[in-house]
Every structure is written in C-alpha cells, then in structure tokens.
C-alpha cells in the first residue's frame, strides 16, 4: 500500500507521522522552513501563499501552545483560520468523527490540523478523504494519543540541525517520560531516518515503553551515564495527567534521579544544547538554572516551530 501521506508523485500531501517518511522529504521540509524563519522579523509578517484557503484547527484534546503556533503559522501564510475546540462536547451529541469532518468539508475546508487523544485519528481522517476522492483537502497531525507529534519532531530536528549543522556525528539523549510521549516517538523516528548514529532514551523502567530498543535506541536507566558525551539533551515533560497507577513514587523523587541540573549537564559535551518541548515543569524534570542557562535552546524551539509548521502547511497544500 502506498504511504497515505504521499501522493502518486511521492510528494507530501498529508503529514501524519515521521515513521516511514523518506529522508529526502524530511530534508525538504527542514530546508523549506529556513526562509520562513525570517518572515516573523519583517514589518509585514505575512506571505500570500495560502490566501483564500481555510484551515480548520480541529482540537479534540486541549492544547494552547500547539494550537496557537499552528494558528500563527496559518495566518502568516494568509490562510483563514477557524478554531474548533471540540473537547468532549461533540461526542455528547453523538456525531462521529468522520461526520464532523464531512460537515466541515461541506463548508469548504482546505486543511485540517488535528489533535486527538486517540492514536490514529488523523490517519483515519486522511484515509477517509483519500478514499472519497477529496485529495484537495489536507490533514496535518498536531498530536494523536501516544502515537505521533510529527511537527514537534520536525521542529526538534530543525533546532538540532540549526545548532549542530548535521545529524551524522551526533549523540542525542531523550530523557524522562518516554512512555506517554508522542514527542519522543516522532523525534526518534526522525533522528534515525536522518542518520543520527546514537540515540539514547533515559528514564525509569516504568516510564519506558516495552521493547523501546526496537526503535533503534539505546536504553539507559541512569541519567549520568546517559548524558556522558551527549551533543543534544531533550528533556520531556512528566505527563502527570496521563499517569495511571503507581508509575512514580513522587515528583520530588523523579527530580532527584532524572531532573537535569547544571552538575549533571556538565557530563555532556561542553557545547551541548538542551531542548524541551514545553510546557516545562521546573524542579520536576529540569532545574531552573538549566532551563534559563546558556545551553538551553527551548525558546528558539518555539520560534522555529512556527517556521516549520508554515513549511509543512505550504508544502501539503500545494501538492
């Protein structure tokens, strides 16, 4: 079966996951994002690429940052943006996901940016649109369940490439709650596709998915060992709202073992960068001295995220 994200010419028409996305497509997205970074610095922070197109932000799960950056990205491309915070209310009226989508297509939607707590929801919508011949309508996954968050993965790759130029000599550690993290999954797929020789995942056994090694990563349960010689350290948010049962003794205990402090960061390379997808829990996974320190590139990640989302939207909408 054809990759549902690509059209018959192998061009990106939906963005659902970084898994299985060819390296040249990822590289092209990153390259296209570069000229978009300067648009935010101009007097007129807009280009007319998506003028007259309607982008529907379809968020079935709460999000402020991701929704806002998608909204800014779409507006800087001159699209009309409609935000639908559906939450739980749509299901209470009994409408199915695909009926909701069909109704919005009937309102001439050109693109859906979808966040859903169920893994696979954006894929379901894209497959439905493809199957019913509405290939002019595009889907961008803004995070589905524990599955994927491809634009976050891409902005992480963009940030790493911006500071480190190339992936082929890098050691990257992804630290913390890997189990609940779609950010980690997308980044791991992206890093391995781009030829990163060493990707480590660091966390307690209870917060690592079983058989995570099968993704091509090295597992460390000790943060100090995991940080030695790293070029890039990616700290993940401890997702308390997703924790069921006793995965952790306490947040304080977690910080003691897996919180990034200046002293532990010193084990990484002197020019290591520290990333975090946000929102940060200071004093839980990251010490304020690190979050506000010279190694942190957490705020540039946010700025780059807009350019990367502009690149993705302008590429899928043109294909």
């Amino acid at each position: 079966m054809r990759n549902p994200q690509l059209n018959a010419n192998g061009e990106l028409t939906h963005l659902l996951t970084l898994e299985g996305l060819p390296a040249e497509v990822i590289r092209r997205i990153l390259d296209t994002a570069v000229p978009f970074t300067s648009i935010g610095e101009r007097d007129v922070k807009k280009v007319p690429l998506l003028r007259g197109r309607s982008v529907f932000n379809l968020f079935f799960e709460n999000s402020t940052r991701t929704r806002t950056t998608f909204e800014i990205a779409a507006k800087r491309l001159s699209a009309d943006v409609i935000n639908l915070n559906i939450g739980a209310s749509s299901t209470t009226k009994g409408e199915t996901l695909l009926d909701t989508v069909d109704n919005l297509v009937a309102m001439n939607a050109d693109m859906f940016v979808v966040r859903h707590s169920q893994s696979g929801a954006p894929h379901l919508i894209a497959a439905h649109l493809n199957r019913t011949g509405r290939t002019h309508v595009h889907v961008v996954n803004a995070g589905d369940g524990r599955h994927a968050h491809p634009t976050q993965g891409l902005l992480d790759l963009f940030t790493i490439r911006h500071y480190k130029k190339d992936f082929t000599g890098l050691t990257v550690a992804i630290v913390g709650d890997i189990l609940h993290s779609r950010v980690a999954r997308s980044l791991i797929h992206g890093l391995t596709t781009m030829g990163t020789p060493e990707v480590r995942v660091v966390g307690p056994q209870t917060l690592l998915p079983t058989a995570v090694e099968s993704l091509g990563v090295r597992v460390c349960h000790d943060l100090r060992a995991g940080l030695v010689g790293c070029d890039v350290v990616v700290m993940l948010r401890l997702q308390n709202e997703r924790m069921k049962g006793a995965l952790l003794p306490s947040a304080g205990e977690f910080f003691k073992h897996y919180g990034l402090t200046p002293e532990k960061l010193a084990l990484a390379k002197p020019d290591a960068i520290v990333m975090h997808p946000g929102p940060m829990n200071r004093g839980v996974e990251i010490d304020s001295a690190v979050a506000d320190g010279d190694h942190a590139v957490i705020l540039p990640q946010v700025t780059f995220g807009i350019a990367v989302r502009m690149a993705v939207m302008s590429m899928v909408a043109g294909n």
């Binding site: 570069v34 000229p35 807009k46 043109g318």
Partner: protein, 189 residues
Amino acid sequence: MNGFNGNADGLRGAQREAVAGLPDAGTALAELIERMKGAVAFDAKFVGIYSGGAWLAERLAEAIPGNHPVGYIDASFYRDDYARKGLKPEVHATRLPFEIEGATIVLVDDVLYTGRSVRAAINELFDYGRPASIELAVLVDRGGRELPIEATYVGARLVVARELSVVLSRAADGTLALATETSSEPRHA
C-alpha cells in the same frame, strides 16, 4: 505583446533588434553595465532575484560607480503559480540588509520572460517597506510578456522558441554562461 520594439517612452533599455541564437553572457553583461553607468542613482540598492539575478547583482555592484549594497530575493512565497505547481523544491531566504522604506531599488534578474517573477518580487519588496522607486535590470529580454512589465536596463534581446527556457549558469571560476534547455513544463518550474 510588443516587448521587442515597443518599449514605453523614457525607458533607457536599448532598442535593439532581437538576435536569433544566444548572446555571450559576458558581452551581454558588459552591455548591461554600459547602459546602467551614469543612469543608475549613486545610492541605488541592487536586489538580485535568485539564483541568476543574485550573481548579476554582485557583479553590477562592483562594476557600477556609486555605493550599491546588494540584497537577495526569492519570491517563491509570492508566485502566482503556487496553486498549480506547489512550492518549488529549493526556496532561498530573502536577505535585504538595508531599509526598503524610501530606498531607490534596482531589481536584477537574468532572464525577463513572462514578467511573473518580477511581479512576485515587487510584491515581496513592498512587504518590507515602501521604496522610493524600483527599476529593473535584466541580462536578457526574451519577450513573451504576460504582464505589463518592462525592464529599465537590458543587456541583450533575443528570440527563442516557446518550448525552450533560457538558463544562466555560473562556473566555479565565476564565468557566466547562457544556455537553452527544453522545458518539459515541470511541476516545479
């Protein structure tokens, strides 16, 4: 379309006969420099359209007396064929290291054909500010305009069959060369 001999009054471009076959790029550049000398404002800022126009803008800035800072523009985000062709694979970052507001600008491109790239570049310039004036310098004018756009300074005029595209290339030693390519109307032209 009457781009070959029907230039509006006041344009300083040459009223030459179009030549069949390709001119030498170096000769055309020398001719373009000749036409611009003394005509271009002393403080005009040169903005090259990627890629060919960018190389030319650098050459012109060296050769033409005055103080001519160079900027670069890639108007891919302003093109009118996005809906048909999508975004082209390689987009360069526009870099304009000077104020556009109130500036005298000379846009520089290698080949003037339909006029659509120039239209896109002018639109992008205005998102940086309101220039005092914009002139257009091109190495070759091959006619075929689809918009009411004419060059102020022209290095050479030529006639080429519609199915051919005229391409400027730059060798490692900086030598410029013109060639024709059969354009199969690629999706990302």
